[in-house]
């Protein structure tokens, strides 16, 4: 086939032009690949460092924050609540509460139930000085606050796990801990609580017919309504100070038989009414002593979930992941350094010793903690049994993240649902700046580079066509169609394009290697998610949690980048070929006759 040979021979004969065009295109391809590589490198750094959720094997973070609840206060008797510490957030995540029971008033940013939940959740702030020992002795006391990240029953985890598209979910409890040391003061404020008149309207379900029958027969057995009074209505038992609430019997009649014969659930209800925690305001202002307070953050993570959670096994930089014992902790490297603790050391919290099994570098997020406990251990220590304040969700298909997030919001009204992308958006720092720059300038730079190299290729091809005017005219005179002439020029430039692509890809690799050798450092700072800017946290001197990380920039060359490079080279070559071919096709065959010297 002379045509093919013609193309090859032509390229060889006009070697300078071939090489110039190829290298012109190749330099453009190399630059573009470099730009794309750096941009990819920034994206990867972003994904690695700035997307904390995905770096801990998670896509969605579910929390409950103040102001997010839309339910109104509709306190219902809660048989399971511990007297004195009612952390049940009414209406929100409350186990067993039918969704229809919740009213809605989204306009109130901090409604009553939130306020109550907030105060309840932070009630352990009370350092009951009377319990610390004799006046004049030294005391240390750690207490735990959930800040604005309110806790909710861990049953929410099961709700989330049941949602379509959720691959896995793990719960965690992040608390702000206050470590107080000081001397027990002489004067202990005596706080009287209780005695308030409680107005609670409760409407237990009507007695079933079986209950009525039993009730009637019981009354009969006990002598009817005229029977002797077995239990007199004495004064309410004295409340114990500092318990935060107390139980009060409600007399519903003078007949002992009635009390005795009422079905159990009526009696139960009577026994469990809780007074509002109105003494909190007094208790958050303890008497002034030489008490010194330092804060630290504690997190409870599921030891059985080493792959996803606030920290993962991958975050462990020395030591090991939790081995299963309850008294183990993992410290963040920074906190361990500050406290001069190492793997094998002992951390004491409220007089109890915990063994440091590992040190971790938590990934960039506001939810990093200084000390990681097994979840159940922290729940015990902080008296948050059965409560968590974060659920980390992994979705089955990352493209469904938004849908799953919406489903979680629907299933748990009032939940704050944050995706990896939301968190990445809060990140600042030179990495962020560089990425912004790459996003804004990278595209423009790529376009400029491509346009200029394409222009070079086009001009070189046009000049080559100009030098071959007689030849092309002759071919046209011999009966070559315009299409065949264009095809000839296009084939030539396409081959140049392939050559340019190969050389350009090599150049792109060179850029990548060069960037890798220089590896400029970039920093990234995340202001974090829910724990940041916590009002309650600030109240106790807790500053906004933020973490700065440094990453080395690399410019990885992906297969797609290579394909892009080759595509650019071919595109440029074909553009040049099209323009050159168009010019050639426009030549009159008569130019073959002209005496060009």
């Amino acid at each position: 086939m002379p045509s093919i040979r013609y193309v090859g021979n032509e390229l060889r004969r006009r070697r300078t032009r071939t090489v110039l065009t190829a290298f012109g295109l190749a330099s453009g391809v190399g630059l573009v690949m470099g730009i794309v590589g750096v941009s990819d490198g920034l994206d990867e750094a972003q994904a690695k460092v700035l997307s904390p959720l995905s770096s801990v094997g998670t896509d969605i973070l579910v929390t409950r924050t103040v102001g997010a609840t839309t339910s109104t206060a509709s306190a219902s008797p809660s048989p399971s609540a511990t007297p004195g510490v009612t952390r049940e957030g009414p209406g929100f995540f409350a186990a067993g509460g039918p969704p229809g029971a919740r009213g809605g008033n989204a306009l109130e940013s901090l409604n009553d139930s939130d306020a109550t939940a907030l105060l309840n959740d932070n009630s352990s702030v009370i350092t009951d000085l009377s319990k610390l020992g004799k006046a004049g002795t030294r005391f240390t006391h750690d207490f735990f606050l959930s800040g604005t990240m309110l806790t909710f029953p861990s049953a929410a985890l099961d709700t989330i796990k049941a949602i379509d598209g959720v691959a896995s979910a793990t719960s965690a409890l992040t608390l702000q801990a206050q470590h107080q040391t000081g001397t027990v003061p002489e004067i202990v404020a005596e706080v009287k609580t209780g005695g308030e008149t409680l107005t609670t309207t409760a409407r237990p379900a009507e007695m079933t017919s079986a209950e009525q029958t039993a009730f009637r027969s019981c009354i009969q057995r006990n002598g009817g309504f005229g029977g002797p009074v077995n239990q007199s209505s004495g004064p309410a038992p004295a409340p114990s100070p500092g318990s935060g609430g107390e139980v009060r019997r409600v007399e519903i009649g003078g007949f002992g038989a009635v009390n005795k014969c009422l079905p159990k659930r009526f009696q139960e209800y009577e026994a469990k009414v809780v007074t509002p925690l109105r003494t909190i305001q007094q208790l958050v202002n303890p008497p002034q002593t030489d008490t010194a307070t330092t804060s630290w953050t504690a997190a409870g993570v599921d030891p059985k979930s080493p792959g996803s959670g606030l920290i993962t096994k991958q975050n462990i930089s020395s030591g090991t992941w939790f081995t299963g014992a309850a008294n183990e902790v993992v410290l963040s490297t920074t906190y361990a350094g500050k406290q001069k603790l190492a793997v094998g050391g002992t951390l004491t919290v409220n007089g109890k010793a915990y063994k440091v099994v590992g040190l971790a570098d938590p990934t960039l997020t506001g939810n990093t903690a200084d000390v990681y406990f097994p979840l159940s251990t922290l729940q015990d220590v902080a008296t948050r049994t059965g409560r968590v304040n974060e659920v980390l969700v992994k979705v089955a298909d990352s493209s469904q993240t938004d849908e799953v997030a919406a489903a979680i919001k629907k299933a748990l009204p009032g939940a704050q649902v944050v995706t990896s992308k939301d968190i990445a958006d809060t990140v600042t720092g030179s990495l962020h700046d560089a990425q912004q720059l790459a996003n804004r300038l990278g595209g423009a730079l790529t376009v400029i580079v491509l346009i200029s190299t394409f222009a070079v290729a086009v001009l070189l091809t046009l000049s080559s066509v100009q030098k071959r005017v007689r030849e092309i005219g002759t071919l046209r005179a011999l009966g070559w169609t315009k299409r065949r002439v264009v095809g000839q020029v296009l084939t030539e430039t396409a081959l140049i394009g392939v050559l340019a692509g190969v050389v350009g890809i090599a150049a792109g690799y060179a850029v990548s290697v060069a960037v890798g050798l220089l590896s400029p450092d970039l920093s990234a700072t995340s202001s974090g998610v829910a724990a940041g800017a916590s009002q309650v946290g600030e109240l106790f001197g807790q500053t906004t949690t933020s973490l700065t990380r440094s990453v080395s920039l690399s410019a990885p060359i992906h297969l797609s980048t290579i394909a892009l490079g080759m595509a650019c080279a071919l595109l440029g070559a074909l553009l040049a070929g099209a323009v050159g071919g168009w010019r050639a096709a426009r030549l009159s065959p008569a130019v073959a006759l002209r005496d060009l010297g």
Binding site: G479, K482, A592, L593
Partner: protein
């Protein structure tokens, strides 16, 4: 017999600068199949323009050019291109061989369906069977022009148009090339039209058409 070419009142004008150059003014000409014809005239007489019209490379600004009964005056480029490929063979003053292709490849590249055998055959008829694999740069001027003649015959044309075919050749070689063209005409009944200002070439043609200032001033048959 139908004329191969029928030219009636052919005008060809080119705009040049602000004015118009009239290269051909009312040329009327009939050329029949099998003719051996010289178009003569000094430079600027319009003979190159006439050759372009005869070669279906150009169309007249006025008048009529028919090739074998087909009107070319308003034909599209595609039709003209096909006509050039199928019915017309060109021989140029500068030979115009593709420098990167061998002699036989230069013949093949002009073929509708490239066929090595046929190309070699054509080279043999012009006496270059042993030079088939040579690049043009390795051939003498006469040899190059003979390759060009073989190429002109690649698609069995009805007419061979030669533009000053001997202009770049010495006298001996020129006569050989002219012999070859006359041989085509006599042996293969191909119409041969030679544009020349060389009296030695023109005198060997059977019919001589002389142009001056775009007009036919003489049309004689020997």
């Amino acid at each position: 017999m139908n004329p191969l070419y029928l030219l009636e009142s052919v005008e060809r004008a080119y705009p040049r600068g602000g004015s118009t150059v009239h290269a051909l003014r009312g040329v009327c000409l009939e050329i029949h199949p099998g003719e051996l014809l010289a178009v003569e005239g000094p430079s600027g007489s319009g003979k190159s323009t006439l050759l372009q019209l005869l070669g279906a490379m150009d169309v007249p600004t006025a008048g009529r050019v028919d090739f074998d009964g087909r009107a070319l005056a308003n034909a599209k480029d595609k039709e003209l291109t096909r006509l050039r490929r199928d019915a017309i063979g060109f021989v140029f003053q500068q030979f115009n061989l593709i420098p990167t292709l061998t002699a036989v490849e230069n013949v093949e590249i002009a073929m509708v369906r490239p066929a090595r055998e046929r190309a070699l055959e054509l080279l043999a008829t012009v006496g270059l069977a042993d030079r088939a694999e040579h690049l043009p740069s390795r051939l003498s001027g006469g040899e190059q022009q003979r390759v060009a003649i073989a190429r002109a015959l690649a698609n069995d044309p009805r007419v061979v148009l030669a533009d000053e075919p001997t202009g770049n050749l010495d006298a001996t070689t020129a006569q050989e090339v002219v012999d070859l063209l006359i041989g085509l005409n006599t042996d293969q009944a191909v119409t041969v039209i030679v544009v020349t200002h060389d009296e030695d070439v023109a005198v060997r043609m059977r019919r001589r058409v002389k142009l001056r200032s775009g007009e036919v001033v003489s049309d004689s048959v020997a």
